[in-house]
């Protein structure tokens, strides 16, 4: 079992974490914080469709090995605990992109996102969606939607923001809407529909919001839309 290798360097915080089906260490149901040391590092892919990790997300190759930190010294021990709980429940379906201080990013397939969001809301206590971001990645031929979830009710999750990301292909993109889980995404998803052209299934109004009704051009946040003169 490879021990987690990450440096204390404040910039050097990216590492990919997955849990394999053939994991030798059995995960307890409620993960205590110290068990996060047993996470296996690998550079596995985020989506099965592209064979190389998307260059826009993975920052740098694995840092050189250093001795693992005990939970008292580890500044991201609490976040690793949360990530571990999610991996216990979702296993192969959720990929952790990074774990930083107060920030966790998880990637899922569009078919699993409602299940993951419901789990985060009901079991872990992330009760509202702060904002929703849509990004265009023409190099991977994909568009990505990231939901930033926060918690108002739980004191121990006060500053935590979990980012849940899904990707879909760029031509004719459709994603399930999270409006049934988090009411607060209504206007954000509508804005992403008009700015990127992603259709949200289940959203009551996929319509123009900020753009004028007579907008006749391509969705503006796509990379091929150039501002005049630049």
């Amino acid at each position: 079992m490879i021990l987690p290798t990450h440096s204390q360097d404040s910039y050097d915080r990216y590492y990919m974490v997955t849990i394999g089906v053939n994991n030798t260490k059995p995960w307890p149901l409620l993960l205590p914080i110290y068990a996060t040391r047993q996470i296996q590092l690998s550079n596995s892919t985020y989506r099965s469709s592209s064979n190389s990790p998307p260059t826009d997300i993975v920052g740098r190759p694995s840092p050189p090995s250093k001795p693992a930190l005990s939970p008292e010294q580890d500044p991201v021990a609490f976040e690793k605990g949360i990530a571990g709980e999610i991996l216990v429940k979702f296993g192969q379906l959720a990929h952790i992109i990074f774990i930083k201080h107060l920030r966790i990013k998880i990637a899922v397939e569009p078919s699993n996102i409602i299940r993951l969001a419901t789990y985060l809301r009901d079991r872990l206590g992330f009760d509202h969606a702060e904002s929703v971001t849509g990004t265009d990645y023409p190099k991977d031929n994909q568009v990505e939607v990231v939901y930033h979830l926060g918690s108002y009710t739980r004191q121990d999750l006060a500053g935590q923001v979990i980012s849940v990301a899904t990707r879909t292909n760029r031509d004719d993109p459709t994603l399930p809407s999270l409006i049934g889980v988090y009411k607060s995404v209504e206007y954000h998803e509508r804005e992403i529909f008009e700015m990127l052209g992603i259709y949200f299934e289940g959203h009551p109004r996929n319509e123009r919001f900020l753009l004028p009704e007579d907008w006749a051009d391509i969705p503006p946040l796509r990379k091929e839309f150039r501002i005049k003169g630049r």
């Binding site: 404040s10 990216y14 108002y152």
Partner: protein, 386 residues
């Protein structure tokens, strides 16, 4: 009834069409439009049944300038002047969050004195914005003295910001790495004098506005947003704190030197429009204490910004940082791909999130309560449109 049916048949035989009175005919559609001074640069369409609002549909976008798209064409430093335009009064806070995110991406360290000056500017901006909002709230309730007094007291803080940055609004003071310049001589004494005078004025505001029986009658019990609804709708800022959730980014996720400052999160439990109008006032009072502590603890000398390269850039990655601005949590999600220009900048503004509470609260309210509810939501249309 039979008489009516006979008459309808008679008129139909004569060739006159009689339309039955349908549900929709009773409703009047009213566009509280962008031209109306009572709505800012924002339009929402309401359907009225007599005096009661039965449906409300917000229609923002009149001041949409494409801030997020413009950020992708300029490098990290060049983005500051246009990013502060969404809220010109509170411009330090909207660039504060951006600077924090860029510093995380590029690894720039801010010197300690710069952090203090940034925090002081942020608190003064909070006063400027809240006083402007309070002036507008007063005038749309019909209280014109409450328009003149905050607008006049706002000049105290605008003078301070002019001494500090050179501009009255749109300061362009924060840059990734610190602040643009050091504080001038005599600023600390002037600031303390203004704050002492201003704290006396706050008592007068309470007497004339918040304890005014007419204002109380108009705002108490109007537009109740329960705690569960506030959390589900994801509102933020003073709207959230008026519904009983003591959440403040400066306490939940202290940035810069806020973990060394002692202050209390102001919140109320009553969740009506009066609470939403009173919480910013309590915030202002608390902000005065914060400024005094900051001026006290600031190091006497030191650099105010890190020395920057020509085109600062960092490794590919992303950063999401938030700041407590006048309207609520202002977050920046910046994705960098290793070049000096950001790949994607997403601005998460408090006004856009609070807009969701508008249809929720207006449905069932009287039209006369519309300004009370709408302006208490602390909605800034320019910021919501970006």
């Amino acid at each position: 009834m039979a008489d009516l049916e006979d008459r309808i048949r008679e008129s139909q035989r004569m060739g006159i069409q009689i339309a039955k009175e349908s549900e929709d005919d009773r409703l009047m559609t009213l566009s509280v439009g962008p031209q109306h001074p009572g709505s800012g640069h924002f339009r929402f369409v309401v359907k009225l049944d007599g005096d009661y609002i039965v449906h409300c549909d917000p229609d923002p976008g009149y001041v949409h300038r494409g801030e997020e798209k413009m950020c992708e064409y300029r490098n990290f430093i060049q983005n500051i002047p246009h990013l502060e335009r969404p809220v010109i009064h509170d411009s330090t806070n909207i660039t504060y969050s951006y600077s924090l995110a860029v510093e995380e991406l590029t690894g720039i360290q801010v010197p300690r004195r710069g952090q203090f000056i940034r925090a002081i500017a942020s608190e003064l901006n909070r006063q400027i914005y809240t006083l402007y909002w309070l002036a507008i709230y007063g005038i749309f309730l019909g209280h014109s003295t409450m328009f003149m007094w905050p607008a006049g007291d706002r000049e105290l803080f605008i003078d301070l910001m002019e001494a500090l940055t050179g501009a009255r609004v749109t300061h362009a003071f924060n840059i990734p790495g610190g602040v643009r310049n050091d504080i001038p001589n005599g600023f600390k004494d002037k600031c303390l004098r203004q704050i002492t005078y201003y704290e006396k004025r706050l008592k007068e505001y309470e007497d004339i506005f918040y304890n005014n029986p007419l204002v109380r009658q108009r705002t108490e019990g109007v537009g109740i947003l329960t705690k569960e609804d506030a959390i589900n709708l994801g509102v933020t800022g003073s709207v959230l704190r008026a519904s009983g959730v003591p959440y403040d980014i400066r306490k939940a996720e202290p940035y810069d030197v806020y973990n060394e400052i002692d202050f209390k999160v102001q919140y109320m439990q009553t969740a009506d429009s009066f609470a939403r109008a009173y919480v910013p006032f309590l915030d202002m009072r608390e902000s005065c204490h914060i400024v005094r502590q900051l001026l006290d603890k600031m190091p006497e000398s030191g650099e105010v910004r890190a020395k920057l390269q020509a085109n600062p850039r960092g490794p590919p990655g992303e950063a999401y940082r938030r700041v407590e601005s006048g309207r609520g949590a202002l977050g920046y999600y910046i994705i960098s791909d290793g070049t000096p220009k950001p790949y994607r900048v997403k601005i998460s503004v408090g006004s856009f999130r609070n807009m969701l509470a508008l249809p929720h609260l207006l449905v069932g309210a009287k039209m006369g309560d519309m300004p009370v509810i709408y302006w208490a939501l602390n909605y800034w249309p320019v910021e919501a449109d970006r």
